[in-house]
């Protein structure tokens, strides 16, 4: 039980946010209208992605220090899961942008930088595929992962602050916290973030265990 409680919590939270996010009262605003509910589904993807990429950097550092094969697999699987969440974040954002900004891709700085930071991790996967030898691959890809992480932080957290963005909370657009004075949205938003982060972590652990089993099978044969 002490190993499954957080999985149950994650499922309950995500189901709760899916239901409550679509049914609960939200502020009625011009242009945004009901699309404001996308906050519950779009933003948590980014939180989950950033948490997963941070996990991967942590294990990359560990794999450099320990030379342990499992740390390397943990790093690459959390990157893979993080990429999925990043793509989902781009997708939910693009669909939302179609109905509020008029286009799927509006040349918004945050959109562009998020796409570039996902490119960074695609480059990481390509780098891994380019090296055959296992230990060398673990070492070099860990180094690139650690090298790329500060750049991703600059891309996602620093550069968008320097430019105007169409996103709520940037460039004169009021942020969601100023719309939601009675904190009704927070009741759904915070559980959504926590739930999706936990789901992301869960997916990552499953992928890690599948990889371990695959490796075991391959080594027996």
């Amino acid at each position: 039980m002490n190993k499954t409680w957080w999985k149950i919590l994650a499922s309950v939270l995500v189901v709760y946010t899916a239901v409550a996010g679509l049914l609960l009262e939200v502020p009625h605003l011009a242009i945004l209208n009901e699309t404001i509910r996308n906050l519950y589904f779009h933003v948590p993807m980014w939180f989950a992605m950033i948490v997963l990429f941070s996990i991967s950097v942590f294990y990359s550092v560990r794999s450099l220090l320990s030379q342990d094969r499992n740390d390397d697999i943990r790093a690459v699987e959390s990157v893979n899961t993080g990429i999925i969440f990043g793509l989902l974040g781009l997708l939910t954002g693009a669909v939302w942008a179609k109905y509020t900004w008029g286009q799927f891709w509006s040349f918004d700085p945050k959109q562009n930088f998020a796409a570039i930071s996902i490119l960074l991790y695609f480059a990481y996967s390509v780098l891994r595929n380019a090296i055959d030898e296992e230990q060398k691959r673990a070492k070099i890809s860990a180094i690139y992962n650690i090298f790329a992480f500060p750049m991703m932080v600059v891309l996602l957290f620093v550069l968008p602050r320097l430019q105007d963005s169409l996103h709520p909370g940037n460039g004169g657009n009021p942020g969601f916290n100023s719309y939601d004075l009675d904190s009704n949205m927070r009741l759904v938003f915070y559980p959504a973030c926590l739930g999706w982060i936990l789901i992301g972590y869960w997916v990552y652990t499953i992928r890690f265990r599948i990889r371990l089993l695959e490796n075991k099978q391959n080594s027996i044969r």
């Binding site: 570039i116 490119l119 390509v126 780098l127 380019a130 060398k136 070099i140 180094i143 090298f147 550069l159």
Partner: protein, 221 residues
């Protein structure tokens, strides 16, 4: 003190090797000049200053990838081994970076001069600020590409991997540089650009410190 001595000696070695063959500087110079000339022939009717600015940075980006990538990719395995025995890894990385900065400074200065000569419609009103942007550009291209070329050379197949790995990492810096250069083209006062200059310097410090931390792990085979 030991480190400083080694760095000085290694930089002298790089410069001496370059002076003897003059391969890098002449090769990349010819590359830049012919690219600028090709652009001149193809875009002669283009009258937009900002487009010329973007074109200049694209040319610089590709020239510096070609120029800097050879720093590690070109070294033979035996020579690498030899210098690794003699010097500490930090000294090797610092000397390569400094050498690349010098190379790129010479190169970008000549390229900017040629660019101004060929495109007489393109002369930024604040040439000093433009030159500062160019200097910052050569420094940041060198710091980033030196480390990436070390990673790519260790991974085996050099050229293509170098481009894939370096583009996502350099884009944040490139965005800042293009903005700074655009300020110079628009003739904005210097107060508007201090933020960008500071940000480029911060990113450079970040890149150099991460590279110094990671390089010792990279070269040890």
């Amino acid at each position: 003190m030991q480190l400083l001595h080694q760095v000085k000696y290694l930089i002298r070695k790089e410069l001496l090797l370059e002076w003897r063959s003059k391969y890098a500087i002449n090769g990349v110079l010819l590359y830049v000049v012919s690219t600028i000339f090709t652009c001149y022939l193809s875009f002669i009717s283009l009258n937009d200053k900002l487009a010329w600015n973007a074109l200049f940075w694209i040319i610089m980006l590709f020239a510096s990838i070609n120029g800097v990538s050879k720093s590690f990719l070109q070294e033979t395995k035996g020579r690498q081994l030899y210098s690794y025995i003699l010097a500490s890894p930090s000294a090797i990385l610092i000397s390569k970076t400094v050498y690349n900065v010098l190379l790129m400074l010479v190169l970008t200065t000549i390229a900017l001069g040629f660019y101004l000569l060929v495109f007489d419609t393109f002369s930024p009103p604040d040439l000093l600020m433009y030159y500062v942007a160019v200097i910052l550009g050569s420094i940041s291209f060198s710091t980033v590409f030196t480390m990436v070329s070390a990673i790519a050379s260790k991974a085996g197949n050099g050229g293509m991997l170098m481009a894939i790995l370096s583009f996502p990492v350099i884009i944040p810096v490139l965005i800042l540089l293009i903005r700074l250069a655009k300020n110079a083209v628009d003739g904005l006062p210097w107060e508007n650009s201090w933020d960008d200059i500071g940000m480029v310097l911060v990113v450079n410090v970040l890149v150099v410190s991460v590279s110094l931390l990671l390089f010792p792990y990279l070269w040890r085979d």
